[in-house]
């Protein structure tokens, strides 16, 4: 399976761990997140979005699956946008995920590091974070609506919210 896919309008695509998907309106991009972070990039005027399912903060030279790492996912998303004529200017970001899944004493709690890494790389690239829903101890299902740029966040056992 490729690390980045372009979705046909009207389809809903699930974005697996380490994957990046791009879609135009009215496409929907969805991921289920735990300690991973979902990075949604959106161009409001061109109604095109991308969702990366980021697993770890840094690639440290490993680039086989660019969506897996915060520091390789964003450059890859920008490159994919560039290929289809989406300019950097006007792009906005929304992020969700980065939970501490098994409580603070659980093993390999990487959620906070993922959140920090994604925020840092967005700041380096001067891309504004419009909204975020991060941390906590529960998983999230996120869906980016490429018609509106809304990121629907569902936390297990609670109500939905739109970012």
């Amino acid at each position: 399976m490729t690390s980045c896919t372009t979705t046909q309008p009207s389809q809903k695509q699930n974005v697996g761990m380490g994957q990046i998907a791009v879609a135009k309106a009215p496409g929907l991009l969805s991921s289920v997140l735990g300690s991973c972070v979902g990075l949604a990039l959106y161009h409001p005027r061109l109604k095109t979005g991308a969702l990366a399912h980021i697993v770890l903060p840094t690639a440290c030279g490993r680039g086989a699956l660019p969506g897996k790492f915060a520091d390789t996912a964003l450059p890859h998303m920008l490159a994919e946008f560039s290929k289809i004529g989406i300019p950097r200017e006007g792009l906005v970001a929304k992020i969700a995920g980065g939970a501490c899944m098994f409580g603070v004493s659980g093993p390999l709690q990487i959620g906070d590091n993922n959140i920090e890494a994604v925020q840092n790389i967005l700041a380096q690239e001067n891309i504004r974070i419009l909204a975020r829903d991060v941390g906590g101890q529960k998983g999230r299902r996120v869906t980016l609506d490429c018609s509106t740029g809304e990121l629907l966040v569902e936390i297990a056992g609670t109500s939905k919210k739109k970012l």
């Binding site: 697996g16 289920v32 735990g34 699956l65 098994f102 093993p107 999230r140």
Partner: protein
């Protein structure tokens, strides 16, 4: 990056034999715990690309009831006992000798029944693996969680994801009087434990 030690089909088959032996011990413990009602058997041992793992295991955005146990250290891993709501409630009721609880919230007794089940399974399973690899594996206290299955599985995969783009997963299935139940145990060893099991296999083959 693929782990050459156990990525080949032959090695996976031998590893399957090692984990089937551990599952056999866990099944005996489960059978005793449930008065002969429930048994388990090894379903599959697979190496799956990270991005495909939840889809391949049909664990996506379903809300599941889970008991998670960790093996800390380099030779470690995660064990997740998963149920859907109905099956989890039925097991708890059966163990407690009560009617199935219809409340939306799980009470402490029900949680305790499931975590103890996870504890018994994990201890039997890890005792068997300990004997086979000659290294003591001690599971943590069980952790009860209700969440999206994929969210919990992701956390369990983190240790392998640090070094690999594929993950090794062992899945066990459950039976009640011959009928397969919608319960599973997922065992995700760390990279260190994968290597150790691989070395043990090669020494014995």
């Amino acid at each position: 990056m693929r782990n050459p030690t156990i990525s080949r089909q032959h090695d996976l088959e031998v590893l399957r034999q090692l984990l089937a032996s551990a599952t056999h011990d866990a099944s005996a413990a489960m059978c005793r715990w449930t008065d002969g009602l429930i048994t388990l058997s090894l379903d599959e041992v697979r190496e799956i690309p990270l991005e495909m793992v939840c889809g391949e295991l049909c664990i996506d955005d379903d809300l599941l009831t889970m008991v998670v146990l960790s093996l800390e250290g380099e030779l470690g891993g995660e064990m997740i006992l998963t149920f859907d709501e109905e099956n989890g409630r039925q097991l708890a009721a059966s163990l407690l000798g009560r009617e199935v609880n219809e409340d939306s919230e799980w009470n402490e007794l029900e949680k305790s029944a499931l975590t103890e089940t996870g504890n018994i399974l994990a201890c039997a399973y890890m005792n068997a693996v300990t004997r086979l690899i000659d290294h003591e594996l001690v599971p943590s206290a069980p952790y009860f969680v209700q969440d999206f299955g994929a969210s919990v599985l992701q956390q369990a995969l983190m240790a392998q994801a640090l070094t690999h783009d594929t993950v090794l997963i062992c899945r066990t299935k459950f039976h009640r009087e011959g009928e397969q139940l919608n319960w599973h145990v997922l065992f995700v060893p760390t990279d260190g434990l994968r290597h150790r099991m691989g070395q043990t296999l090669h020494a014995n083959v």
